[in-house]
Symmetry: C2
């Protein structure tokens, strides 16, 4: 039953050798890996204006030089990640690059921030998309959290079905969004060129503004840089690309960079020329669209595709998180189960973990995840800085052909990313301080997990050829609850193993009971020794474990091994288990986890 529901939801299992067919071509890869970055265009320019308005609307012309700064940072990041793709063709991303070049801890800082960041990506994007939808249908507003959770569940299922299938579904909205914004920018520029937009709406570039400071400009720049979150996704996901993976990934990265640059500068320029002021209820993109088209079909088309791409931006998290988790799990910093491929060859445990964690975040913040955006931006720029610093170290160490150019590119990227990170901490400390608490905790956990795996490995590995202490004989203890077929079945089995000794143990709750049972037993199984224990506190476990301890102690002296043989009847239907005390499970758990005895369950399958 369960397995057929599973099959319906995520499709039939795929054989391991079908892995090649599940890889992405460039068009699909661009769609699912760049939705996060492209969707940032919907809020990045607005973030700049929100900072500048604190001075005055006349300061809006500063958005142009700031946008130029963001474009320079974008170019540096794209070029830098292009170098990373070719340097780490098996999927690099900040974790691998930082770890390899800077050491384990910088790697873990990068990996830990990204891991948390992808969870934030999913929670924030889906909540933002849901907000966009419920703004259009206010009667749904009370159900924000449930709707967001449903979207996360759908995205999780889609990703469990497999990368290519989700890419096919998700490609359309991404390309529609790009198309919609290009039409908007094109028509907007045409209007400006034909002089339909009055130039009085904006202050000319260069107008001196009182009260502007470097601090505010840096802050505006940092806010605008939040549009760059998501550019690292492609370098993490190289293993998902069709061969030749690095070339395809690099081309996809270039295409994404170009699209992002065009859309970002177009929106910033239009916002500046139209003199748009950021409002609480209406987004900047929505205002531009209304100025350009009025409230006609195109306006709603732009609004609709924007809402969709915000939700789909979450999908970037689904592509990157599981691959990052595999890298961390291979290095034993997180549980090994993240390295297993599921029925459809995706890393299902990573996908499910991401879905669950973001649902928890959405519920905890009651859908108001916009408070998390600064946290999320910092979580991206820390690994940006680390990975590019790693590349600097790499070039200096290896000095390959043309290393100076490469060094300059990565140094520029590292420097700007570092500045953005610092600016975030300086200007938004109240919202981002928690990174300084959580990151050390996460890294501590990573180390603890690794330490455990290494300790286990050491203890399991067979290094020397010394033989283990031989087992000289066996003692079998059978807890019995009555004179039944189940017990008989277990005793027959015990006898067939020819142990040195069989002891049946009966726990009595009442005094009279004890004597009666012993007599019956003598008649029934005269050749099996019966020990009766009395339980004052109506518990079977306590007297039984005590008894097993004594037996084990004695057995150890002569290198005998103690086996506790638990008779268990298995009812025909699952629900019947509710009707029976699961004493045998309890006994097993207590003995197995606390004592050094072998625990055997002898099933007696009921037929009715």
């Amino acid at each position: 039953m369960l397995s057929s529901i599973k099959r319906f939801l995520i499709g039939r299992p795929l054989k391991s050798d079908a892995l090649g067919e599940q890889k992405l071509n460039k068009k699909k890869a661009l769609a699912i890996l760049s939705s996060d970055a492209l969707s940032s265009v919907a809020y990045g320019p607005e973030q700049i204006l929100i900072v500048l308005i604190t001075v005055s609307a006349a300061a809006f012309w500063y958005s142009i030089p700031i946008a130029v700064g963001v474009l320079i940072l974008l170019t540096a990041l794209i070029l830098s990640y292009r170098q990373i793709i070719f340097a780490y063709p098996h999927g690099g991303g900040a974790y691998v690059v930082s770890k390899t070049n800077l050491g384990t801890n910088p790697g873990l800082i990068a990996g830990g921030s990204l891991l948390v960041d992808y969870i934030l990506t999913v929670a924030v994007s889906v909540s933002a998309g849901t907000d966009a939808i419920t703004s259009a249908f206010p009667e749904l507003h009370d159900h924000n959290v449930s709707i967001a959770v449903v979207f996360v569940v759908l995205l999780t299922l889609l990703n469990l079905r497999g990368v290519t299938e989700s890419a096919s579904v998700l490609a359309y909205p991404v390309y529609l969004f790009v198309l919609a914004l290009f039409i908007l920018i094109g028509v907007g520029l045409y209007n400006i060129v034909t002089g339909e937009v009055p130039p009085e709406l904006h202050t000319p570039v260069g107008t001196p503004i009182a009260g502007i400071s470097l601090f505010i400009l840096l802050r505006a720049f940092a806010s605008g840089s939040s549009a760059l979150t998501g550019v690292e996704a492609i370098s993490n996901a190289i293993p998902n690309f069709k061969d030749p993976a690095p070339n395809n990934a690099a081309k996809t990265l270039a295409a994404m960079g170009t699209l992002l640059a065009l859309l970002f500068s177009g929106i910033v320029y239009l916002a500046y020329y139209y003199g748009i002021t950021p409002l609480a209820e209406v987004t900047v993109v929505s205002q531009i669209a209304e100025e350009t088209f009025g409230r006609n079909f195109m306006y709603f088309f732009i609004q609709g595709t924007t809402a969709l791409i915000l939700i789909l931006a979450a999908n970037t998290g689904y592509s990157a998180f599981p691959l990052l988790a595999v890298n961390l799990a291979n290095d034993k910093f997180i549980p090994r189960m993240f390295t297993f491929r599921g029925d459809r060859l995706g890393y299902s445990n990573g996908i499910i973990a991401l879905g669950l964690a973001s649902i928890l975040l959405i519920i905890a913040f009651k859908g108001h995840t916009e408070q998390l955006i600064p946290l999320y931006a910092v979580g991206v720029f820390i690994p940006f800085t680390l990975s590019q610093t790693g590349m600097i170290v790499k070039w200096i160490r290896e000095k390959p052909k043309g290393w100076v150019t490469k060094l300059i590119i990565n140094s520029t990227g590292a420097l700007i990313s570092f500045i953005v990170t610092i600016v975030f901490f300086l200007t938004k400390f109240a919202q981002v301080w928690s990174v300084l608490v959580f990151l050390p905790i996460i890294i501590y956990i990573f180390h603890r997990i690794r330490k455990h795996y290494e300790a286990v490995g050491d203890q399991l590995r067979i290094t020397t050829c010394e033989p283990s202490t031989p087992i000289e004989g066996n003692v079998i203890v059978v807890p019995v609850s009555g004179i039944t077929h189940v017990v008989e079945n277990s005793l027959n089995y015990a006898k067939s193993l020819n142990p040195e000794r069989i002891i049946a143990v009966y726990v009595a709750f009442e005094r009279g009971d004890e004597r009666k049972f012993e007599e019956k037993w003598k008649q029934w199984q005269p050749d099996v020794r019966l020990v009766t224990l009395h339980s004052h506190y109506r518990s079977i476990i306590q007297p039984l474990t005590k008894f097993v301890d004594t037996v084990e102690h004695k057995a150890n002296e002569s290198n005998y091994r103690v086996t506790v043989l638990i008779p268990q009847f298995i009812p025909k239907k699952g629900w019947h288990n509710f009707l029976h005390n699961q004493s045998s499970l309890l006994i097993r758990a207590f003995l197995l986890y606390r004592r050094n005895v072998v625990v055997t369950t002898v099933p007696y399958h009921l037929k009715k």
Copy 2:
């Protein structure tokens, strides 16, 4: 850790022979077993007036004859239950009496309604008490559900601590409530006698009223009878009394009946004489108190003790439910676990089940459980009718000394209870129809459970002396995951059992892996046969169970028994288990519940 929290909350475990000390004397028994019945005084009279006001305030004089009717019913019930106590000194109650005299199904109808009813008692009483408290502190009103849940949890813990301890705590509020109402009635009557209350406030008894009908009078009578819920509690709980239990119980019952009759008629009379009209916001008792004392200390004392006793009324459910559950469980109609005594000698499973079920009800109805009151009244009068009909049958069958008087008493009780039940169905069908759906379902479940227990009993019982098929030999299958100390440990154990054959099984996910492992194995354990299985779908379970099936099939032919021996390493700390795939648990569950093989877990305890 867990066990010390448990000890703090419910106290140290008690030995079984301490049971006698946990029994109740009359004073404590009256307090904990009559709080439900006595608390009904707080709303019973009001229910009568609410029906009469639908005609006119002049019709209020009918409350006097109706109250006389309720008192007659009360007398009949008390006398009748007195007879039940002596006839069934081991704790009767409606279930046992109906089952013994009328047959299984009537017994189950009575038992099923009471079981549900006690859950309703807890939910309704606690919600009503919480309402009374939050009316006084309106800022708490939003937290109604949480407060009610906390009260249920507290009552559950108190009852898990044991009957006498809860009686000691709960006796004070009950007696304070009785005291408060006696003062109220006394002062009220004194005011009437001294002529301080103007007689114009009420219409004289006998005034003809237009529009009054038998239907309305019956409905008012039925509503007033809801004050009698809870009188059956004592007869259910005889086993909790000190010896001589039946005598003590009968005396307690008489005391409760007298108190209930006095308080009920006092409140009805004062309400009539003061001309009180039922209001939505202020209860009738509260209005009488305000008329009598004004808003001084006595007024708040009466309000406070009323709120308390409403919450404590729930405790009657805690006394009666577990004992009823024991009776049903002994007859195998509900899971056997309800017959076990916990650490403090209470039937903890019944107490916990009751607490959980009522918390669910409170949450499901968001604390507005007053909608459930009619359901709850019907759920009491059905077993009232059945148990007294049972007593009629008993007297006619047995004809003991003085049986005619006894017969008349029970017949009166049965008749009035039956009429009240019918009136409930006729006048409040919309609220009580669900009884007709749920009761058959519950009874069906009772029968299914019993059938299962009987089938199991038949299959386990050793009836004939025919020997079971002997086991001729053993085959041991060891699933192995690598060349480690854990596997070595299991193989040594397998060898020590001297089976006819040992087979190690390795499941490979990749082709190259297979060959490599086989070679290593040959060097390491040349005397143990290794079988490698290939898994296309990255699952261990599927190929393994298939293989075990084949082995089992062959083994069966020569009466060999198959044992699957699972090597398992046990990490030192519990949280470590998260870091390891619980494949061994999964393998065990699959093999144990689906195949006829013995499953053995060989632990290897890690030291770090």
